[in-house]
């Protein structure tokens, strides 16, 4: 562990085109692109499934099946299609990020109190208004939980992406390992873990602020942890 600390505290290791800052930016860029794409796919489909109540079995099934796929294998297979391109990595990250967002969005909308929905219809809202003005606001904490869970998975997997030759923080770990520079490998691992914890902390803070900003704080009972913990395969 001492070698990691001395590597991390050497300022030469932070700058330059293969320095820590550059790797961190790459890592964040890969992750952000994948998350935005995944959210654009998963949120609308999740809203549709939750609103209509159709297809939830399919969601639960695929969520579990995706969990069983070894990330490294998925990355390697996609990378074979066009080595060293960015899109195979982004595609693998999107595949991992869609299920948690989709499942949480669908579950969040489906879990909206039937009374609230009836009341919306009772005061004359049509289906679209009910969705946007009642169901989406009430489902927001769970949708955010899904995005939080997807973010963690994407950040973790972007680390593995270095194996197929791209950048990101995983590059530090693997280059350090390959060149027997264990200080670099361990230091890079510390950075990877710290980044994940920081993101997790930011989401926890955001969810707390969101829950508190709501009238009466009546949403405190909603689970902050993602609901995709539900088992699936079989």
């Amino acid at each position: 562990m001492g070698s990691a600390i001395s590597w991390l505290t050497t300022s030469d290791n932070w700058g330059g085109s293969s320095g820590i800052w550059q790797r961190l930016l790459e890592h964040l860029r890969y992750s952000a692109i994948a998350l935005v794409i995944a959210a654009f796919i998963a949120v609308p489909v999740g809203l549709l499934i939750g609103h209509t109540g159709k297809g939830s079995g399919f969601v639960i099934g695929t969520t579990g099946a995706v969990r069983a796929i070894p990330t490294l294998g998925l990355l390697i297979l996609l990378n074979k299609l066009q080595p060293l391109a960015l899109w195979p990595v982004e595609a693998a990250l999107v595949v991992l990020a869609v299920p948690p967002i989709l499942a949480n969005t669908a579950a969040g909308v489906a879990a909206v109190d039937a009374g609230a929905r009836d009341a919306a219809v009772g005061i004359g809202m049509n289906g679209r208004q009910t969705l946007w003005r009642v169901e989406v606001p009430l489902a927001l904490p769970l949708i955010l939980s899904g995005i939080r869970s997807a973010s963690l998975q994407v950040i973790a997997t972007a680390t593995v992406a270095a194996y197929t030759g791209l950048g990101g923080l995983g590059r530090l770990v693997l280059d350090g390992y390959d060149t027997q520079n264990l200080g670099k490998a361990y230091g890079g691992s510390v950075l990877v873990v710290v980044l994940a914890l920081l993101i997790e902390g930011l989401y926890a803070l955001a969810q707390r602020v969101l829950a508190r900003s709501r009238e009466g704080g009546g949403l405190d009972h909603l689970p902050l942890a993602p609901v995709i913990e539900a088992p699936a395969i079989s």
């Binding site: 969990r67 070894p70 990330t71 490294l72 973790a156 997997t157 890079g188």
Partner: protein, 224 residues
């Protein structure tokens, strides 16, 4: 002599290489089971403590949220740095056991807490001691919740073992990285599909086992 006994994938085809797949699948299962067993023991100890002492649960929850957020590759190397043994299987087993523990401990506590007060009151009235009630009433009733957590932990663990393919270990994960280096799609596909198949088989076994140890649930369903 020892190296000669490790089967090597030959050629760019599947036939003739089933022995290689089985060899690495066995290692894969051994690694996963070691991690699961270790994680289960830890989760049970921490779960029972958390069930009894609320303050312990707050600490355990904070710890498990943090561990769950950590990327496996980073956690693997950090544990390797702490133990100083990157080239053996201990860091991998410890890292995966930590994930199992964090998934499972929550389900154990929530499962125990979900036992209806009427049931615990009745068993106390029947003369169960605190320990007897825990072992014969509360834990059995929490089995479905614990089993749900165990299934998630098992599937995740089987899939995560492969990450160690990056350092030339990790059971079927080794087929992934070797297939990548030798540019052999058969070997890569074999690694991926065998991993998914293993996860599926073990998941089915867990479902069957859960049904077997909770016979009262089936009776309840049949009688409506």
């Amino acid at each position: 002599m020892l190296l000669a006994s490790v089967p090597e994938w030959s050629g760019a085809q599947l036939s003739g290489n089933w022995g290689v797949i089985v060899h690495y699948a066995v290692i894969h299962v051994q690694l996963a089971l070691a991690a699961l067993l270790l994680g289960c023991i830890g989760a049970l100890i921490l779960g029972l403590l958390s069930f009894r002492y609320r303050r312990v649960y707050a600490v355990v929850l904070a710890f498990s949220n943090a561990v769950y957020a950590m990327p496996s590759l980073g956690l693997l190397f950090i544990i390797a740095a702490i133990t100083g043994r990157i080239l053996d299987d201990h860091p991998l087993i410890i890292a995966l056991a930590l994930y199992t523990l964090t998934i499972l401990v929550r389900n154990i506590v929530e499962g125990l807490r979900a036992v209806p007060p009427a049931v615990t009151d009745a068993s106390s009235a029947m003369g169960f001691t605190r320990r007897g009630r825990l072992l014969k009433v509360e834990l059995p009733l929490a089995v479905p919740a614990i089993s749900a957590g165990l299934r998630v932990a098992t599937v995740s663990t089987i899939s995560l073992v492969s990450v160690a393919g990056i350092i030339g270990r990790g059971g079927l994960g080794f087929l992934l990285t070797q297939g990548f280096q030798k540019d052999n799609p058969w070997e890569i596909w074999a690694g991926v599909l065998a991993t998914v198949a293993l996860a599926g088989i073990i998941d089915v076994l867990l479902v069957v086992a859960t049904r077997a140890v909770t016979p009262w649930r089936r009776i309840g369903v049949r009688n409506g």
